[in-house]
Amino acid sequence: MKLQLDEYAYLNTPLHRWDPRYKLISFMVLIFAFSFVHSLYLLPGMVAVSGTLYIVSSLPLSFLLARLRLPGFFLLMMAVLLPFLSGQNALFYLGPLAVKQEGCLDLLLISVKFLCILTLVIILFGTTPFLTNIKAMRALGLSSILADMILFSYRYLYDIGDKLKTMETAMKLRGFLRRNLKSLGTLASLAGTILVRSYEQSDRVYKAMILRGYGQAGGTRSGPRRDEFQAYPRDLAGLLVLVFIAVAFVVAEICLR
Protein backbone atom coordinates (compact mmCIF):
# COMPACT_ATOMS: atom_id res chain seq x y z
CA MET A 1 0.00 0.00 0.00
CA LYS A 2 1.44 3.34 -1.01
CA LEU A 3 0.21 6.71 0.12
CA GLN A 4 3.36 8.59 -0.84
CA LEU A 5 2.20 11.82 0.60
CA ASP A 6 5.73 13.00 1.27
CA GLU A 7 7.28 11.52 -1.85
CA TYR A 8 8.90 14.84 -2.74
CA ALA A 9 9.70 16.00 0.78
CA TYR A 10 13.41 15.51 0.10
CA LEU A 11 13.59 18.35 -2.46
CA ASN A 12 15.49 21.46 -1.46
CA THR A 13 13.53 24.68 -1.97
CA PRO A 14 12.87 27.60 0.37
CA LEU A 15 9.54 25.96 1.19
CA HIS A 16 11.24 22.67 2.05
CA ARG A 17 13.83 24.41 4.23
CA TRP A 18 11.25 26.46 6.10
CA ASP A 19 10.88 25.55 9.81
CA PRO A 20 7.82 23.27 9.85
CA ARG A 21 6.28 25.03 12.83
CA TYR A 22 6.28 28.41 11.06
CA LYS A 23 5.19 26.84 7.81
CA LEU A 24 2.28 25.14 9.52
CA ILE A 25 1.04 28.34 11.15
CA SER A 26 1.47 30.42 8.00
CA PHE A 27 -0.35 27.96 5.78
CA MET A 28 -3.20 27.44 8.21
CA VAL A 29 -3.71 31.21 8.47
CA LEU A 30 -3.68 31.54 4.69
CA ILE A 31 -6.04 28.59 4.24
CA PHE A 32 -8.57 30.11 6.61
CA ALA A 33 -8.22 33.50 4.95
CA PHE A 34 -9.02 31.84 1.60
CA SER A 35 -12.03 30.10 3.04
CA PHE A 36 -13.28 33.50 4.24
CA VAL A 37 -13.30 34.92 0.70
CA HIS A 38 -16.67 35.31 -1.01
CA SER A 39 -15.97 37.97 -3.54
CA LEU A 40 -15.39 36.83 -7.11
CA TYR A 41 -12.93 39.69 -7.62
CA LEU A 42 -10.44 38.10 -5.23
CA LEU A 43 -10.34 34.75 -7.03
CA PRO A 44 -7.52 35.68 -9.47
CA GLY A 45 -5.44 36.80 -6.50
CA MET A 46 -5.97 33.47 -4.75
CA VAL A 47 -5.01 31.54 -7.85
CA ALA A 48 -1.90 33.69 -8.22
CA VAL A 49 -0.81 33.16 -4.61
CA SER A 50 -1.31 29.41 -4.50
CA GLY A 51 0.09 28.99 -8.01
CA THR A 52 3.25 30.91 -7.10
CA LEU A 53 3.73 28.89 -3.96
CA TYR A 54 3.28 25.67 -5.93
CA ILE A 55 5.89 26.74 -8.43
CA VAL A 56 8.30 27.68 -5.64
CA SER A 57 7.75 24.27 -4.04
CA SER A 58 9.02 22.54 -7.23
CA LEU A 59 6.46 19.77 -6.77
CA PRO A 60 5.62 18.27 -10.16
CA LEU A 61 2.22 19.17 -11.63
CA SER A 62 1.36 15.48 -11.99
CA PHE A 63 1.57 15.17 -8.20
CA LEU A 64 -1.17 17.76 -7.81
CA LEU A 65 -3.32 16.33 -10.59
CA ALA A 66 -3.13 12.78 -9.22
CA ARG A 67 -4.40 14.07 -5.91
CA LEU A 68 -7.37 15.81 -7.51
CA ARG A 69 -9.01 12.61 -8.68
CA LEU A 70 -10.90 11.72 -5.53
CA PRO A 71 -12.20 15.17 -4.55
CA GLY A 72 -12.93 15.72 -8.24
CA PHE A 73 -16.08 13.63 -7.79
CA PHE A 74 -17.42 16.07 -5.28
CA LEU A 75 -16.82 18.96 -7.66
CA LEU A 76 -18.54 17.04 -10.42
CA MET A 77 -21.59 16.53 -8.22
CA MET A 78 -21.71 20.26 -7.48
CA ALA A 79 -21.29 21.04 -11.15
CA VAL A 80 -24.28 18.87 -11.96
CA LEU A 81 -26.55 20.26 -9.25
CA LEU A 82 -25.70 23.88 -8.52
CA PRO A 83 -26.35 25.55 -11.86
CA PHE A 84 -29.87 24.12 -11.90
CA LEU A 85 -30.82 24.55 -8.28
CA SER A 86 -29.47 27.89 -7.21
CA GLY A 87 -30.76 31.29 -8.26
CA GLN A 88 -33.55 32.83 -10.38
CA ASN A 89 -31.94 34.30 -13.49
CA ALA A 90 -31.76 31.70 -16.21
CA LEU A 91 -28.73 32.04 -18.45
CA PHE A 92 -29.97 29.51 -21.00
CA TYR A 93 -32.02 26.34 -21.17
CA LEU A 94 -30.90 22.74 -21.50
CA GLY A 95 -34.11 21.16 -22.68
CA PRO A 96 -36.62 21.80 -19.88
CA LEU A 97 -33.92 22.73 -17.32
CA ALA A 98 -32.84 26.27 -16.69
CA VAL A 99 -29.15 26.92 -16.15
CA LYS A 100 -29.09 29.75 -13.64
CA GLN A 101 -26.58 32.54 -13.44
CA GLU A 102 -26.23 32.58 -9.64
CA GLY A 103 -25.69 28.84 -9.61
CA CYS A 104 -22.89 29.11 -12.11
CA LEU A 105 -21.21 31.85 -10.11
CA ASP A 106 -21.60 29.82 -6.90
CA LEU A 107 -19.98 26.93 -8.67
CA LEU A 108 -17.11 29.09 -9.89
CA LEU A 109 -16.48 30.46 -6.40
CA ILE A 110 -16.59 27.09 -4.71
CA SER A 111 -14.38 25.34 -7.25
CA VAL A 112 -11.70 28.01 -7.25
CA LYS A 113 -11.61 28.24 -3.46
CA PHE A 114 -11.53 24.48 -3.23
CA LEU A 115 -8.68 24.14 -5.72
CA CYS A 116 -6.61 26.87 -4.11
CA ILE A 117 -6.96 25.48 -0.60
CA LEU A 118 -6.25 21.97 -1.85
CA THR A 119 -3.08 23.22 -3.51
CA LEU A 120 -1.96 24.84 -0.25
CA VAL A 121 -2.64 21.65 1.72
CA ILE A 122 -0.66 19.64 -0.78
CA ILE A 123 2.27 22.05 -0.61
CA LEU A 124 2.14 22.01 3.19
CA PHE A 125 2.18 18.22 3.46
CA GLY A 126 4.21 17.60 0.33
CA THR A 127 7.24 19.65 1.33
CA THR A 128 7.76 18.25 4.85
CA PRO A 129 7.88 14.61 5.90
CA PHE A 130 4.53 13.80 7.49
CA LEU A 131 6.08 12.85 10.80
CA THR A 132 7.96 16.11 11.04
CA ASN A 133 4.67 17.94 10.61
CA ILE A 134 3.11 15.98 13.46
CA LYS A 135 6.13 16.71 15.62
CA ALA A 136 5.76 20.38 14.72
CA MET A 137 2.10 20.27 15.77
CA ARG A 138 3.11 18.80 19.09
CA ALA A 139 5.78 21.44 19.52
CA LEU A 140 3.02 23.98 18.88
CA GLY A 141 0.97 22.56 21.74
CA LEU A 142 -1.24 19.80 20.31
CA SER A 143 -2.40 17.59 23.19
CA SER A 144 0.17 14.86 23.66
CA ILE A 145 -2.51 12.17 23.86
CA LEU A 146 -3.77 13.21 20.42
CA ALA A 147 -0.25 13.56 19.01
CA ASP A 148 0.72 10.11 20.26
CA MET A 149 -2.47 8.67 18.80
CA ILE A 150 -1.72 10.27 15.43
CA LEU A 151 1.86 8.95 15.41
CA PHE A 152 0.89 5.43 16.37
CA SER A 153 -2.10 5.27 14.03
CA TYR A 154 0.04 6.53 11.17
CA ARG A 155 2.58 3.84 11.96
CA TYR A 156 -0.04 1.08 11.94
CA LEU A 157 -2.06 2.35 9.01
CA TYR A 158 0.44 0.88 6.56
CA ASP A 159 0.79 -2.31 8.50
CA ILE A 160 -2.91 -2.97 8.70
CA GLY A 161 -3.44 -1.88 5.10
CA ASP A 162 -0.92 -4.50 4.00
CA LYS A 163 -2.63 -7.11 6.17
CA LEU A 164 -5.95 -6.34 4.56
CA LYS A 165 -4.47 -6.71 1.11
CA THR A 166 -2.89 -10.04 1.94
CA MET A 167 -6.07 -11.36 3.49
CA GLU A 168 -8.14 -10.31 0.50
CA THR A 169 -5.63 -12.18 -1.66
CA ALA A 170 -5.92 -15.27 0.51
CA MET A 171 -9.71 -15.16 0.17
CA LYS A 172 -9.52 -14.80 -3.57
CA LEU A 173 -7.15 -17.74 -3.81
CA ARG A 174 -9.76 -19.83 -2.10
CA GLY A 175 -12.41 -18.91 -4.59
CA PHE A 176 -14.08 -15.93 -2.95
CA LEU A 177 -15.61 -13.57 -5.49
CA ARG A 178 -17.35 -10.46 -4.28
CA ARG A 179 -20.15 -10.62 -6.74
CA ASN A 180 -23.26 -9.71 -4.81
CA LEU A 181 -24.63 -8.61 -1.50
CA LYS A 182 -24.46 -12.16 -0.18
CA SER A 183 -20.73 -11.69 0.32
CA LEU A 184 -21.56 -9.03 2.93
CA GLY A 185 -21.25 -11.60 5.71
CA THR A 186 -17.81 -12.72 4.57
CA LEU A 187 -16.62 -9.15 4.18
CA ALA A 188 -17.91 -8.38 7.67
CA SER A 189 -15.85 -11.22 9.09
CA LEU A 190 -12.86 -9.94 7.13
CA ALA A 191 -13.31 -6.52 8.76
CA GLY A 192 -13.91 -8.23 12.11
CA THR A 193 -10.71 -10.22 11.82
CA ILE A 194 -8.79 -7.03 11.08
CA LEU A 195 -10.25 -5.44 14.22
CA VAL A 196 -9.61 -8.46 16.43
CA ARG A 197 -6.05 -8.84 15.26
CA SER A 198 -5.33 -5.15 15.74
CA TYR A 199 -6.85 -5.28 19.21
CA GLU A 200 -4.73 -8.24 20.24
CA GLN A 201 -1.63 -6.69 18.75
CA SER A 202 -2.29 -3.51 20.70
CA ASP A 203 -2.10 -5.54 23.88
CA ARG A 204 1.35 -6.86 23.02
CA VAL A 205 2.50 -3.46 21.82
CA TYR A 206 1.45 -1.92 25.10
CA LYS A 207 3.54 -4.48 26.97
CA ALA A 208 6.54 -3.73 24.78
CA MET A 209 6.04 -0.02 25.43
CA ILE A 210 5.95 -0.21 29.21
CA LEU A 211 9.05 -2.39 29.14
CA ARG A 212 10.81 0.51 27.53
CA GLY A 213 9.60 2.98 30.07
CA TYR A 214 6.47 4.39 28.44
CA GLY A 215 4.85 6.87 30.78
CA GLN A 216 7.88 7.07 33.07
CA ALA A 217 10.10 10.10 33.61
CA GLY A 218 9.11 11.84 30.40
CA GLY A 219 5.35 11.40 30.87
CA THR A 220 3.42 10.15 27.87
CA ARG A 221 5.73 11.91 25.45
CA SER A 222 7.26 9.46 23.05
CA GLY A 223 8.44 11.80 20.40
CA PRO A 224 10.77 14.75 20.06
CA ARG A 225 11.28 17.68 22.38
CA ARG A 226 10.72 21.24 21.40
CA ASP A 227 14.42 21.76 20.84
CA GLU A 228 14.30 19.50 17.82
CA PHE A 229 13.32 22.49 15.72
CA GLN A 230 15.49 25.52 15.26
CA ALA A 231 14.13 28.75 13.82
CA TYR A 232 16.13 31.46 12.04
CA PRO A 233 15.04 35.01 11.20
CA ARG A 234 14.19 33.93 7.64
CA ASP A 235 11.60 31.47 9.06
CA LEU A 236 9.92 34.35 10.86
CA ALA A 237 10.14 36.50 7.73
CA GLY A 238 8.31 33.83 5.75
CA LEU A 239 5.61 33.72 8.38
CA LEU A 240 5.17 37.49 8.28
CA VAL A 241 4.89 37.52 4.48
CA LEU A 242 2.15 34.88 4.36
CA VAL A 243 0.25 36.36 7.30
CA PHE A 244 0.41 39.74 5.59
CA ILE A 245 -1.06 38.23 2.41
CA ALA A 246 -3.76 36.52 4.45
CA VAL A 247 -4.70 39.76 6.21
CA ALA A 248 -4.79 41.53 2.86
CA PHE A 249 -7.34 39.03 1.56
CA VAL A 250 -9.52 39.36 4.64
CA VAL A 251 -9.44 43.15 4.55
CA ALA A 252 -10.19 43.20 0.82
CA GLU A 253 -13.10 40.84 1.34
CA ILE A 254 -14.58 43.00 4.08
CA CYS A 255 -14.21 46.14 1.95
CA LEU A 256 -15.80 44.50 -1.09
CA ARG A 257 -18.88 43.25 0.78
Binding site: T169, M171, L173, R174, G175
Partner: protein, 249 residues
Protein backbone atom coordinates in the same frame (compact mmCIF):
# COMPACT_ATOMS: atom_id res chain seq x y z
CA UNK B 1 6.71 -38.66 -14.20
CA UNK B 2 7.51 -36.52 -17.17
CA UNK B 3 4.94 -38.31 -19.25
CA UNK B 4 2.23 -35.65 -18.86
CA UNK B 5 2.07 -31.92 -19.56
CA UNK B 6 3.97 -29.68 -17.12
CA UNK B 7 2.14 -28.36 -14.06
CA UNK B 8 3.92 -25.04 -14.28
CA UNK B 9 5.95 -23.54 -17.04
CA UNK B 10 7.56 -20.14 -16.70
CA UNK B 11 9.32 -18.53 -19.62
CA UNK B 12 11.42 -15.35 -19.60
CA UNK B 13 9.59 -14.01 -16.58
CA UNK B 14 10.61 -10.57 -15.31
CA UNK B 15 8.89 -8.49 -12.69
CA UNK B 16 9.25 -4.99 -11.21
CA UNK B 17 7.37 -3.34 -8.36
CA UNK B 18 6.43 0.28 -9.06
CA UNK B 19 9.19 1.49 -6.76
CA UNK B 20 11.64 -1.36 -7.16
CA UNK B 21 12.71 -2.56 -10.55
CA UNK B 22 13.58 -6.09 -11.66
CA UNK B 23 12.86 -8.01 -8.48
CA UNK B 24 12.73 -11.05 -10.79
CA UNK B 25 14.93 -11.23 -13.88
CA UNK B 26 14.31 -13.51 -16.81
CA UNK B 27 13.22 -16.65 -14.96
CA UNK B 28 12.73 -19.94 -16.83
CA UNK B 29 11.33 -23.00 -15.12
CA UNK B 30 9.30 -26.14 -15.80
CA UNK B 31 7.72 -28.16 -13.01
CA UNK B 32 6.36 -31.66 -13.75
CA UNK B 33 3.49 -33.45 -12.00
CA UNK B 34 4.44 -34.96 -8.64
CA UNK B 35 7.63 -32.95 -8.21
CA UNK B 36 8.41 -31.45 -4.79
CA UNK B 37 10.46 -28.38 -5.57
CA UNK B 38 12.28 -26.55 -2.79
CA UNK B 39 13.02 -22.85 -3.35
CA UNK B 40 15.87 -21.41 -1.32
CA UNK B 41 17.61 -18.06 -1.23
CA UNK B 42 18.29 -15.17 1.16
CA UNK B 43 15.68 -12.65 2.48
CA UNK B 44 14.49 -10.42 -0.32
CA UNK B 45 15.57 -12.85 -3.05
CA UNK B 46 12.09 -12.70 -4.60
CA UNK B 47 10.55 -15.99 -3.49
CA UNK B 48 7.26 -14.60 -2.23
CA UNK B 49 7.00 -12.30 -5.23
CA UNK B 50 7.44 -15.30 -7.53
CA UNK B 51 4.62 -17.16 -5.74
CA UNK B 52 2.31 -14.18 -6.04
CA UNK B 53 2.94 -14.09 -9.76
CA UNK B 54 2.16 -17.80 -10.15
CA UNK B 55 -1.15 -17.32 -8.36
CA UNK B 56 -2.03 -14.37 -10.58
CA UNK B 57 -2.06 -11.96 -7.65
CA UNK B 58 0.61 -9.81 -9.29
CA UNK B 59 0.88 -9.10 -12.99
CA UNK B 60 4.04 -10.09 -14.83
CA UNK B 61 6.09 -7.24 -16.29
CA UNK B 62 7.24 -9.43 -19.16
CA UNK B 63 7.35 -13.14 -19.96
CA UNK B 64 4.70 -15.80 -19.47
CA UNK B 65 3.49 -18.21 -16.79
CA UNK B 66 1.37 -21.26 -17.69
CA UNK B 67 -0.41 -23.49 -15.20
CA UNK B 68 -1.57 -26.88 -16.51
CA UNK B 69 -1.09 -25.60 -20.02
CA UNK B 70 -3.20 -22.45 -19.65
CA UNK B 71 -1.68 -18.97 -19.30
CA UNK B 72 -2.22 -17.32 -15.89
CA UNK B 73 -4.63 -14.39 -16.10
CA UNK B 74 -4.10 -11.95 -13.20
CA UNK B 75 -7.07 -11.63 -10.89
CA UNK B 76 -8.61 -14.87 -12.10
CA UNK B 77 -9.28 -17.65 -9.65
CA UNK B 78 -7.40 -20.94 -10.11
CA UNK B 79 -8.93 -23.69 -8.02
CA UNK B 80 -6.12 -26.05 -9.06
CA UNK B 81 -3.60 -23.93 -7.13
CA UNK B 82 -3.47 -23.54 -3.35
CA UNK B 83 -1.13 -21.33 -1.37
CA UNK B 84 -0.14 -21.42 2.30
CA UNK B 85 1.01 -17.91 3.20
CA UNK B 86 4.16 -16.97 5.06
CA UNK B 87 2.02 -15.70 7.95
CA UNK B 88 -0.92 -18.00 8.80
CA UNK B 89 -2.78 -15.10 10.43
CA UNK B 90 -3.30 -13.66 6.98
CA UNK B 91 -5.15 -16.74 5.96
CA UNK B 92 -7.49 -17.52 8.86
CA UNK B 93 -10.42 -15.12 8.84
CA UNK B 94 -13.45 -17.14 9.89
CA UNK B 95 -14.82 -17.30 13.43
CA UNK B 96 -13.98 -21.00 13.83
CA UNK B 97 -11.41 -23.35 12.40
CA UNK B 98 -14.15 -25.50 10.90
CA UNK B 99 -15.72 -22.53 9.06
CA UNK B 100 -12.33 -21.61 7.80
CA UNK B 101 -11.61 -25.00 6.36
CA UNK B 102 -15.07 -25.10 4.78
CA UNK B 103 -14.64 -21.64 3.25
CA UNK B 104 -12.89 -22.82 0.08
CA UNK B 105 -15.13 -25.81 -0.72
CA UNK B 106 -18.23 -23.61 -0.18
CA UNK B 107 -16.87 -21.08 -2.65
CA UNK B 108 -16.43 -23.91 -5.14
CA UNK B 109 -20.21 -24.28 -4.93
CA UNK B 110 -20.09 -27.85 -3.65
CA UNK B 111 -23.19 -29.39 -1.99
CA UNK B 112 -23.13 -29.31 1.81
CA UNK B 113 -22.44 -33.07 2.26
CA UNK B 114 -19.44 -32.82 -0.02
CA UNK B 115 -18.20 -29.76 1.93
CA UNK B 116 -18.56 -31.78 5.13
CA UNK B 117 -16.62 -34.66 3.67
CA UNK B 118 -13.80 -32.41 2.50
CA UNK B 119 -13.54 -30.78 5.91
CA UNK B 120 -13.42 -34.15 7.65
CA UNK B 121 -10.73 -35.35 5.30
CA UNK B 122 -8.58 -32.21 5.73
CA UNK B 123 -8.92 -32.49 9.51
CA UNK B 124 -7.86 -36.12 9.43
CA UNK B 125 -4.73 -35.36 7.42
CA UNK B 126 -3.61 -32.49 9.65
CA UNK B 127 -4.84 -33.93 12.94
CA UNK B 128 -7.01 -30.90 13.74
CA UNK B 129 -10.30 -32.66 14.62
CA UNK B 130 -10.46 -31.61 18.26
CA UNK B 131 -9.67 -28.00 17.44
CA UNK B 132 -12.48 -27.56 14.89
CA UNK B 133 -14.65 -25.34 17.07
CA UNK B 134 -11.85 -23.12 18.36
CA UNK B 135 -11.52 -19.58 17.05
CA UNK B 136 -8.29 -19.49 15.04
CA UNK B 137 -6.72 -16.71 17.10
CA UNK B 138 -6.74 -18.90 20.24
CA UNK B 139 -4.51 -21.47 18.58
CA UNK B 140 -0.78 -21.70 19.10
CA UNK B 141 1.52 -20.79 16.21
CA UNK B 142 1.98 -24.39 15.14
CA UNK B 143 -1.73 -25.14 15.23
CA UNK B 144 -2.48 -22.03 13.18
CA UNK B 145 -0.08 -23.21 10.51
CA UNK B 146 -1.77 -26.62 10.44
CA UNK B 147 -5.22 -25.01 10.23
CA UNK B 148 -4.07 -22.89 7.28
CA UNK B 149 -2.81 -26.01 5.54
CA UNK B 150 -6.09 -27.82 6.18
CA UNK B 151 -7.97 -24.92 4.57
CA UNK B 152 -5.88 -25.17 1.44
CA UNK B 153 -6.02 -28.96 1.22
CA UNK B 154 -9.81 -28.99 1.49
CA UNK B 155 -9.90 -27.46 -1.97
CA UNK B 156 -7.91 -30.41 -3.37
CA UNK B 157 -5.51 -28.27 -5.38
CA UNK B 158 -3.22 -30.06 -7.83
CA UNK B 159 -0.37 -27.65 -7.07
CA UNK B 160 0.27 -26.46 -3.51
CA UNK B 161 2.62 -23.58 -2.71
CA UNK B 162 4.10 -23.33 0.80
CA UNK B 163 5.81 -20.07 1.83
CA UNK B 164 8.11 -20.69 4.83
CA UNK B 165 5.97 -23.43 6.34
CA UNK B 166 8.28 -24.22 9.29
CA UNK B 167 8.89 -20.76 10.71
CA UNK B 168 7.65 -20.61 14.33
CA UNK B 169 6.95 -24.37 14.38
CA UNK B 170 8.48 -26.36 17.19
CA UNK B 171 10.33 -29.56 16.34
CA UNK B 172 7.36 -31.78 17.02
CA UNK B 173 5.10 -29.93 14.58
CA UNK B 174 7.92 -29.61 12.11
CA UNK B 175 8.42 -33.34 12.07
CA UNK B 176 4.69 -33.91 11.64
CA UNK B 177 4.69 -31.55 8.67
CA UNK B 178 7.67 -33.33 7.08
CA UNK B 179 5.89 -36.64 7.54
CA UNK B 180 2.73 -35.38 5.95
CA UNK B 181 4.43 -33.66 3.01
CA UNK B 182 6.50 -36.72 2.19
CA UNK B 183 3.32 -38.76 1.97
CA UNK B 184 1.35 -36.26 -0.14
CA UNK B 185 0.85 -36.74 -3.86
CA UNK B 186 0.30 -33.18 -5.08
CA UNK B 187 2.93 -31.20 -6.89
CA UNK B 188 4.55 -28.71 -4.47
CA UNK B 189 6.64 -25.58 -4.39
CA UNK B 190 8.17 -24.89 -0.97
CA UNK B 191 10.14 -21.79 -0.02
CA UNK B 192 12.07 -22.07 3.24
CA UNK B 193 15.12 -20.90 5.14
CA UNK B 194 15.11 -24.26 6.93
CA UNK B 195 17.48 -26.16 4.68
CA UNK B 196 17.32 -29.43 6.63
CA UNK B 197 13.58 -29.38 6.07
CA UNK B 198 13.97 -28.82 2.33
CA UNK B 199 16.50 -31.65 2.26
CA UNK B 200 14.08 -34.05 3.89
CA UNK B 201 11.03 -33.15 1.82
CA UNK B 202 12.05 -32.10 -1.69
CA UNK B 203 13.34 -34.01 -4.66
CA UNK B 204 14.53 -30.91 -6.51
CA UNK B 205 15.94 -27.59 -5.32
CA UNK B 206 16.07 -24.17 -6.95
CA UNK B 207 18.40 -21.54 -5.55
CA UNK B 208 17.28 -17.95 -6.22
CA UNK B 209 19.39 -14.89 -5.47
CA UNK B 210 18.65 -11.30 -6.48
CA UNK B 211 15.78 -12.43 -8.67
CA UNK B 212 17.73 -14.97 -10.74
CA UNK B 213 17.76 -18.76 -10.70
CA UNK B 214 21.33 -19.60 -9.74
CA UNK B 215 21.03 -23.37 -9.44
CA UNK B 216 18.41 -26.02 -10.22
CA UNK B 217 19.26 -29.64 -9.39
CA UNK B 218 18.90 -32.47 -6.87
CA UNK B 219 18.88 -31.19 -3.25
CA UNK B 220 22.14 -32.91 -2.29
CA UNK B 221 23.88 -31.50 -5.33
CA UNK B 222 22.85 -27.87 -4.68
CA UNK B 223 23.02 -27.79 -0.91
CA UNK B 224 26.06 -30.05 -0.62
CA UNK B 225 28.06 -27.62 -2.75
CA UNK B 226 29.62 -25.51 0.00
CA UNK B 227 31.22 -23.05 -2.42
CA UNK B 228 27.93 -22.36 -4.24
CA UNK B 229 25.98 -22.00 -1.01
CA UNK B 230 28.44 -19.61 0.54
CA UNK B 231 28.61 -17.52 -2.62
CA UNK B 232 24.88 -16.80 -2.09
CA UNK B 233 25.01 -16.12 1.63
CA UNK B 234 23.86 -19.61 2.59
CA UNK B 235 25.47 -22.49 4.47
CA UNK B 236 25.75 -26.17 3.76
CA UNK B 237 23.25 -27.94 6.07
CA UNK B 238 24.90 -29.92 8.87
CA UNK B 239 23.47 -33.22 7.75
CA UNK B 240 25.32 -32.94 4.44
CA UNK B 241 28.66 -32.83 6.23
CA UNK B 242 29.95 -36.44 6.22
CA UNK B 243 28.99 -38.24 9.47
CA UNK B 244 30.62 -41.02 11.52
CA UNK B 245 27.29 -42.26 12.90
CA UNK B 246 24.13 -42.68 10.82
CA UNK B 247 21.15 -40.94 12.41
CA UNK B 248 18.30 -41.22 9.94
CA UNK B 249 16.87 -44.51 8.93
Amino acid sequence: MNSKEPVLSVSNLSFSYPDRSLVLKDLNLIVWPGERVGIIGPNGAGKTTFFMLICGVLKTTSGEIRLFGKPVVPGEFHPEVGMVFQNPDDQLFCPSVRDDVAFGPRNLGLPEEEVEARVREAFAVTGMQELGDYPPHHLSGGQKRMAAIAGVLAMRPRLVIYDEPTSNLDIRYRRRLIHFLRGARETMLIASHDLEFILEVCDRVILIDEGRIVADAKPREVMGNAALMEAHGLERPHSLVPHAEPHHN
